[in-house]
Every structure is written in C-alpha cells, then in structure tokens.
Amino acid sequence: MSTKTSMMERISESTRSLTTGVDTKDVKHWVTIHIMGRGYRVPADLTIMTAMEFAGYKLIRSCGCRQGFCGACATVFRREGEYKLETALACQTRVEDGMSLVQIPFVPAGAASYDVGEEKYAYSVFSKYYPEVDRCVSCNTCTKACPQDLEVMDYVQAAVKGDFEALTEISFDCIQCGLCAIRCPAEIAQYHVAQLGRRMYGRHGSPEPEHLKDRIAQLEKGEFDEALEELVGATRDELEKLYAARERESD
C-alpha cells in the first residue's frame, strides 16, 4: 500500500505544474494573452499550458503528458491583428503577446468498431467504415492544422487510392489530437481513418517479424515463467536494484 501511494506521489510530482511557486519578482519579461476572451499577464517564456496554470486554471482535461506525445492539449489561437486561425499543442507552444486562445478538450468523432482480421485488405474498407473520406476535396486544411506537421491530406488521399503503406508512413507520427477533424470542411475524422489504415497494414500488409514469432513461441513454451515469478515475488528493494541495472537501449 505504502509503495503504491509513494508511486502515485512520484508521478504527481513529476507532472506537477512547472509554474507553481514562480516568484514574480524574478520575471523580467511579461506578455498579455487572452484565454477565452479574458486578458492575463503571464511570464513571456511559458508555454500556453503553463501560462494557463499561471493564470489560475486547473487543467483536468486538455492536459496529459506535457511533452508533446499524447495529443490531449489541442489548442486554437489567433495572433493579435492576424486573420489566420492557428492550431497547436499547448504544451509545445510558447505564448506570444496579444495571443487569443482556447483549448479543445475533446473532439466528438466516433471511432468505428471492426476486426482487421476479418476485413478485406482493399480501399473499400475506408468507404465501409468512414465513407466521408470520399468527400475529400484536397483543400489541405487538415495539413495546415496538424501540429505534428504531417501531410494529413496526403494520407487521406492514400486511403482513397488504397495505398496502405503510404498511409502508414505518412500518418505514423499522428498523436490523435483531432485538430484536423475539427477543421475539415468534408467532416472527415482523419486520425481515425489513419488508425484503421495502419491497423490494416499491420495485419495484412507489413511482413510478419521473425523475432515476434520466435518470442511468442518462447512464451508459449513457458521459458519466461520462472523469471516472471521471481519478479512478482521480489521485494521493493530488489525491484529497485533490478530496475537500476536493467538493460537499456542506447539513447
């Protein structure tokens, strides 16, 4: 029990707002931003996410990994005097003076339910589950919106052509923030389309990795049962030693 609590505390500590306890006397540069229409003075070197926390917001949605990987903090903003509506991840984008912004905590785009093993490996799988892909007019608004700088329109077009491999390559770094979907004039949920395509490619298109087959055979033979038992029975100290001495891939 104590171990669990301690772990949760450590997680909580590691994701703690970085702005807690900022001594405003030390801040030399300030900007004014507008969050949902209300102005706030915030330190100039903050991200949108930390600036919102500095301003007093407690983020219970639109906030996840804080490192640009989870896609939870989709944000739309305009710079002062600009007509362009910009999109960004709040944890990866620094505030600018005059910026007007709001976070998008959730994108209502239903994901289809399917069994990739049962589906025909052909372009028709897209029109079956996401028929709106055929409404794409190649306007490229999705690509402009993508905070990962993916060529979103190109992977939607790859879907229309039935090119699963190209779709997989182009969409691989998608973090499913949903900004493409809320900007699309054809109302396509691009990121769901891409996930279907990648799953289909993984199941039917890409070669089966030899080492995976070997490892599954080892598991089924029970070659690791003993090692697993040892781990389950280990004390906290033993676990920590094992963790510190673990094999790591080079950075």
Binding site: A122, Y123, C136, V137, S138, C139, N140, T143, K144, E151, M153, D154, Q157, V160, K161, G162, D163, P185
Partner: protein, 321 residues
Amino acid sequence: MTQDNDRAPRRERRGAGSEGMRLPYYPGCTLKTTAKNLEDSALAVAGVLGIELVELPRWNCCGVVTSLTDDDLMRHLGPLRNLIRVQEMNADGLVDDEMRLVALCSMCFNTLKQTNKRLAERPDDLEKLNAIMYLEEDYEGRVEVVHFLEILKEVDPEKIRASVKRPLEGLKVAPYYGCTLLRPKGIGIDDPESPTVQDDFIRMLGAEVVDNPKRTLCCGSYQTVANKDAVADLAYDILTHAREAGADVVTTYCPLCAFNLDNRQREVAERHPDFDSIPVLYATQLMALAFGLGEEACRFDLNHVNPTDVLNAARLVKEGT
C-alpha cells in the same frame, strides 16, 4: 519554380515514340483500385511505343466532377494542386521541360482540363486559389492536360502497326465514347456527335470497327450509386445495339463507363431477360493483346464479364490465358 522569361519559345516537341520520351502521368484513384486493368495495360502499351509515363508524385483526387458554379472555388483546389505537381516534376528533373499532363481515365482528364481552362480564363480565381494554397508554389498556368489518346495520335502509325505481334483479325469491336472524352466544347478531343478517335487505333490492331449508334449515349454516370435500374436500362440499350451491330466486344477509356457497362450487366440481365452479355474492355487491353503482351499487361482477370471466351473463339488467346 524558376521564372522562365529567358527561355526560348517552347521548343519543337519530340514526336511520341522517340527515345527517352517521358511524360507526367496522372492516374486517378480508380486506376489504382477498380480500374487497374486500364493502368496496367496502358503503361505496358506505352512502354512498347517508347513512351514513359512518370507518375505524378503526391497526386491527389482529380476533383471527380468539375464544379460549374461560380462560387464553389474549393472544388478546384484538388485539380489545381495536381497541376502544381507537374511544375514541381519539371523543377525536380523527373521530366525534362514537359508541361503536358497525361490522364488515362477520361473523367480525370475532363475534370483536370476544365479546372485548367477555367483558371486560364479567370486569373482572379487563380489568384484567390494560389493565396489559399500558401503551402504550395503558385500555379503559373503552363500545364496542358492531355488524354492518352492524344499522345497515341502523335505516334507514327507505322510504329504501332509494327508493334502488333498478334493481329486481332476477325474481332469486331464497338468503341464506346460516353461523354467525358467529347464534351463540353473546348474540353473534348473529338467530334461530340460522331467520334472516331478510338477507331483508328483499333483498326491498326487488325480488328474491325463496327458502328454503334449508341456510342455516345450517356452510361448513367453516378446514377449508378442511387439509381441502378436507370443505369441498367441505359447499359442494356448501349450494349444491345453493339451486339446487333455484330460486335464481339465493347471498348472504353472511362472507368465509370466501364463499371456501368461491365459490372452492371448483372442488373441488366435481371431486368432484361433477353439480354445477351458482352465483354467490355479498356481499349488499351486490346492493344496489349495485339502487341503480344502477357496477362500481367492484359489483365482480363479484372474484367467483370470475362472476355477470354470471346477472344478464344476469335483464336486470339491461348487456352487458359
């Protein structure tokens, strides 16, 4: 894209079929899916004639159907983006000073050409679209959209005849034209009332062209989605007239016409018990056959109504081909 003010007036085009002829090629989605038999046969035939069709990098939807409304500019973004890719191909050296874009699908050809024409006539529209597409280089208006048949017309007929290894003697062919190769004025590549642009090439293969009075009757187009019966009735009309004219096969260059005339024959037979089924081929499949190319080029396996029996009867394919 560099400015080409200093460039000499467009140099004399090398005739199609000369060594190293490379042309930007726009496939379109059906050529990668349901109309793979058009792409495979056409690319193989082009290869025999010394024409290399270089696929446009990152091509997107042709636009499918050109928007005719004045205020629906967004539908021209897709076609226009493909034209910009041709500029990029030239800048990247994928083709050598070749601004012609070849389409095989007659629907894609029609849509791309209509957008190109509209933007040439209305520079204010082009300016607006260039501004919206700020991630792309501006379109300079120098691309010319052509259909594969227009490239074939540039080839020395003797070269085509010399490429025929297996003359299609005794085969009667009814070319079907539909609309997208012929209309509207300024876009079509042949007489909209009595087109012949497919016919000459079919004769060069040794086959006989039979006249079908319904060669330009509408196939029903996208009504095939919501109104199958109407399409089936039109297909019945077109195909029965071809049969009565003595045709063994019907040819087309349009994947949508091919779908309506070929795949819809199931519905035609349901509604018209007297219907006599007839193979519908892409004209390039016949060329591939006559050029002596194998099944990987002819792709008869992808036709809904299998043409091999008819071609067997005319002793044109070996058993099992």
